[in-house]
Amino acid sequence: MTAITERQQLAYAERQAAEVRVSVELETDEGMTLNIGPQHPATHGTLRLIAKLDGEQVVWADVAPGYMHRGYEKLTEVRTYPQVTTLINRIDWLGSFANEVPFILAAEKLMEIEAPPRARYIRTILFEMARIANIVLFLGDLGVQLGAVTPAFYAFRDREHVLDQIEAVTGGRFHPNFDRIGGLKDDLPKGWIADTKAVMVRIRSFCDEIEDLLFGNEIFEARTRGIGVVPADVGLSYGLTGANIRASGVDWDLRRDGPDVGLAHRDVDWRVWTHPDGDSFARCWVRLQETREATKIVDQLCDGLPSGPIMAKVPRIIKVPAGEAYVETENPLGAMGYYIVSKGDLGPFRTKIRSASFSNVSIVPWLLRGVYVPDIITILASLYFILGDIDR
């Protein structure tokens, strides 16, 4: 093995010491501490959760994030706009295309460019397909977390088809790098729309399957109903967004209630689902319904796809005029926004990324107090965060 460099050895030793310290001071007082993560099988990605148990009951819990911190906000300062676009695919790696959109929109806002309608429609279609790819995986993963292996396989089986469609357009299975300031990189290939509609049918049948297999299952209900209840006000004060807050009965969706950022959601009819309970079951259920809605949205957009160019007039070398802009959209995980500060050169001067998962996990310590060990997993799974989206 290539020898570890001096620097790394030092850093290594340091970090180990730090870990020990955490553990030890946790151990000093009564009860036992349980380390879930950094690579506990349950957390895809590497959230580390430290829980202090009394028997099987959690008396105190906290999240130790940062295992996936890649310094995005710093990196964006040394990249040009096209390069940033491809980089930020990797923030929420399941709904990649959805990450590009708000950034591009913010840049367009600064440059006062309007993407042509066809581009806007295709953007929205891909946006929603990203949501589907994302949440379908969630539904499968949910089963695994609860001990049912089969749903995961079904989820991956049908997700593949969505990815195929995305790849057919963008060339990337889930890192598309397809959105451009002022439009899109390329247009749809022939026969794509027909295929997509077929896929949407598949997805809908998948939703029914999952509903029979998982959501209808009494055991599943027993595991999730009344577990990890988030009251609306608490949720709001912790800054929950997306399905998590809608599951607490707050009827609020940026796609409908936010400012018109230039996506085509307002041209089609669909509904925002909410659930009064605010427990784990509600969160999962709301997501299931959102998937169905997303398929409907895609179908309608495919029908109403206008013809025309996909790119507005933009200079070959993109320089964004000085200024500041903030745009956020309803991403699969919740509200995601970019605050861009530009000094008028090739790349942004400063970017602040508001990612949904970060605020979603911030409620975990509050939520986990007094629950049983098995419920930790249920709750984490139903909150549905993505590590890259927490740590950036």
Partner: protein, 351 residues
């Protein structure tokens, strides 16, 4: 002459001394343990699960992956097996043996044909209940000796669960015993073959008909005893890594693995014997000699049937939470089986 040998033919052909026979038979049992276990793993864990998920399962190792198991064994043999520093070495090594042996001892009393059985204990069923409860000790040791939180929690959960479901199982069996009026498995099979349901003895009386409740209780209990979904809390991967097996690797882990599926085979065999008429076929003369050959096949078939149910559930359901699991045992199964016993007694005496 001792309790009749594995096959009378063997006896008549060569007049073996009692010891040689016994050793031979013991090896026979080992085979009888490993073959079903292997079949279960391949047929159900690999193939059936894959098909249920529209996959193929192992394909490369041998035609249709039939050599997969050999590969597994070969791999595990050459896998280093580690003992954590803080573990209690002796007990850590002991635990897998205890678990495996308790399984082997179950097979000892299951009859495969009129003369094809290993030892014909007068206390058959009772013996099974007794030896199957030994594995709890093994699991507790494993969890304790690993000196690992996941292991300890897992071990305690496993033990708590096993004993909680041992009881419904015993009580469900009790119903059968009352009906058959004997503990001896051979006699129970006979009783089912000759028995009649309220005077109507067309296909004999496989107790699944009259003891339906008992059968379901037994199945649920089996599922729990095997720590399979929906009762796989002790080895809940997404919660307690692998429960009491977390620290085990190499051969020792393989032992646990074998034990798990051997137990599955054992309990399905027992269920088949107690509720499905064991090796006997309706309308076929019980002590015909050829049953010594057909009997094992029949039993295996019935066994697979039960196992299919068990694994089908395993691959479909999410898992219970610890408390729900205990409540199911104490608040539903046990009262139910008590009622079942009382009812059986009354009926038995009434008719």
């Amino acid at each position: 002459m001792s309790g009749a040998p594995l096959a009378t033919a063997l006896m008549t052909a060569v007049e073996l001394s009692w010891w040689q026979q016994t050793v031979l038979r013991s090896i026979g049992v080992l085979v009888a343990v490993l073959i079903p276990a292997g079949t279960l793993v391949y047929v159900f864990l690999f193939k059936m699960m894959s098909f249920m998920q529209s996959r193929l399962g192992p394909m490369e190792a041998g035609p249709y992956g039939s050599m997969q198991l050999l590969a597994e064994v070969g791999k595990w043999i050459q896998k280093e097996d580690l003992v954590p520093w803080r573990a209690d070495r002796k007990l850590f090594a002991l635990a897998p043996y205890v678990v495996v042996l308790s399984v082997f001892l179950i097979y000892l009393v299951v009859p495969f044909g009129p003369d094809a059985w290993f030892t014909n204990l007068d206390t058959g069923v009772f013996w099974i209940m007794a030896v199957s409860s030994i594995s709890v000790v093994g699991i507790l040791i494993a969890g304790w000796a690993s000196a690992n939180k996941y292991s300890l929690l897992g071990g305690l959960r496993a033990a708590g669960q096993l004993i909680a479901y041992e009881l419904p199982m015993v009580l469900a069996v009790l119903g059968v015993v009352i009906q058959a009026g004997t503990l001896n498995l051979q006699d129970i099979v006979a009783a089912q073959h000759e028995g009649e349901i309220f005077g109507w003895g067309f296909i004999g009386n496989p107790y699944i008909l009259t003891q339906l409740v008992g059968f379901f209780i037994f199945l649920v209990a089996t599922q729990a005893e095997l720590t399979q979904t929906p009762f796989d809390m002790p080895i809940a991967e997404s919660e307690l890594v692998s429960g009491y097996m977390t620290e085990y690797s190499g051969m020792r882990f393989l032992l646990f693995f074998i034990a798990e599926f051997a137990t599955a085979g054992a309990f399905s065999a027992v269920a088949a014997t107690l509720f499905l008429g064991g090796w006997s076929l309706p309308w076929v003369d019980l002590d015909a000699d050829y049953m010594n050959v057909i009997g094992p096949i029949v039993l295996l078939a019935k066994m697979m049937l039960v196992a299919f149910l068990i694994f089908w559930v395993r691959f479909t359901y999410p898992r219970f939470r610890e408390d729900q699991l205990q409540q199911l045992a104490w608040k539903i199964l046990i009262p139910l089986s008590l009622v079942n016993i009382l009812a059986t007694m009354v009926l038995k005496v009434a008719f």
